[in-house]
Amino acid sequence: MKIKSILITTSSFLFTLFITSCSGDKTEEEIVNAKDTTQVSAEVQKESSGYEIFFQVPSPGEMLSFIKSVGKRDKSKISILNSTENINKYTDEKSKALNFGIYSTDLSYCSIFNLGSESIKYFKVVKQLGDQLGLSATIKPEILARIEKNIDNTDSLVVITDDLYYSSFETLEEGKQGNILALVVAGGWLESVYIAINMVDKFQKDNPVIQRIADQKYTLENLIEFLKKHEENSPDVKQVKADLEALMKSFNLLKEEKISDTSLKQEGVKKFIGGGISLVIDEKVFNEIKTKVLKLRNNYIQNQ
């Protein structure tokens, strides 16, 4: 009888524990109350010990949306994307992470440029690599059903693929997989620049896509700093950082022109911030950047 009571009590306790741990979304108040002071102090100390800077890299989708917005709607060339058949070449962690970023950008491209059926193909390779990188809980099979349902709805497809990229990013960041994340971001950025370069038929100084490519100098600076944060104990990140530093040398050849209008104007609620520097690209530098981007991207997709 005594043993029976102990067993029942233990079972009840364990069951209660299970129920408590399973509780769903917490309210804002609960989040605040749940914060462990010890953990908080550690994070705060790290932050306050000299202004840690977070280096942000705009998502590849933003570059692709820009290309579309400046009138390149008819330029959807599926042949420029990384063939889904290449997936079997990615057997090591570095190539998996880089090409997860590359394929994610290709998936965004298919969504933005209304290539619905191709979106399904690219989702499948993103999912396959994502599973291997520990993202199976983030890239759920239900997303495929959402893509299929919205195959002719560009706006919805863009939202779905953007969400996929952001949630993968967040999962890797929160899971402290910084080295994988760094490679994913590098692959995604490189593919977006590669696609932009392929949208340029002929060099023209005033082509907004060419100017956007020149402006990638600043994003590349941030990306290299981001990689630096994760290169410790990761030869793969170190290698990719070295590759991008070599590319940076070409971006450093861009000329700089000071913008004379430095005024700060108010237009309704919006402020206009004048001044700054304009990066000037000529054909020679453009071609040098193009050659390097093409070569690097080819190395990554061929896993060389």
Binding site: L7, V40, E47, V57, E170, R212, D261
Partner: protein
């Protein structure tokens, strides 16, 4: 007796299952997507603001400063919205610098501590956004938090293509 053993074993099995499932789900950081949930402004009809992936959330205590380096492009409008849990007060400070020249481009302290800043830049530039939570923003008694305890701060960045002004050619 037999029933109890079955019950106990079932409970252990359920807990094991749960533990395995939890291993597959990465632990979310404390503030995670705070900016997406709490910094969003009510959408006006016809507004075209799009989420910018350079947005961030973080854990702050009073007196703490954090810097984020972003890139803003010419030809785009940006809207930055700062928000925080009530424990940190409503007078958060944020400054925007040109990261190349360190020129101060905006300081919300000189704009009635506004938590929303809408702007356009004449040039593409790398910027540093400095977020500062002042000391003594709230009485610890009111907020329930001691001054060295922390709460979430979110910085939501949105963008849209600048509208072309004047007559357009067809």
């Amino acid at each position: 007796m037999r029933k109890s053993i079955i019950l106990l074993l079932s409970s252990i099995a359920i807990i094991n299952l749960f533990a395995q499932k939890r291993e597959l789900v990465p632990q979310a950081s404390i503030c995670g997507q705070f900016h997406k949930k709490y910094c969003k402004l009510e959408k006006q009809k016809g507004e075209k603001w799009e989420y910018n992936s350079q947005s961030r959330s973080g854990l702050f205590s009073q007196g703490m400063t954090c810097r984020i380096r972003c890139v803003i492009y010419k030809g785009m409008d940006y809207r930055m919205t700062l928000c925080a849990e009530t424990a940190l007060g409503d007078k958060l400070n944020f400054k925007i610098y040109d990261s190349r020249t360190n020129e101060l481009l905006f300081d919300n302290a000189s704009a009635d501590n506004t938590q929303v800043f809408e702007f356009q830049s004449a040039s593409t530039r790398p910027i540093i956004i400095e977020v500062f939570v002042p000391e003594g923003a709230t009485e610890s008694g009111n907020s329930g938090l001691k001054s060295k305890e922390a709460a979430c701060v979110g910085l939501l960045i949105e963008h849209k293509k600048t509208d072309i002004q004047g007559f357009t050619r067809y």
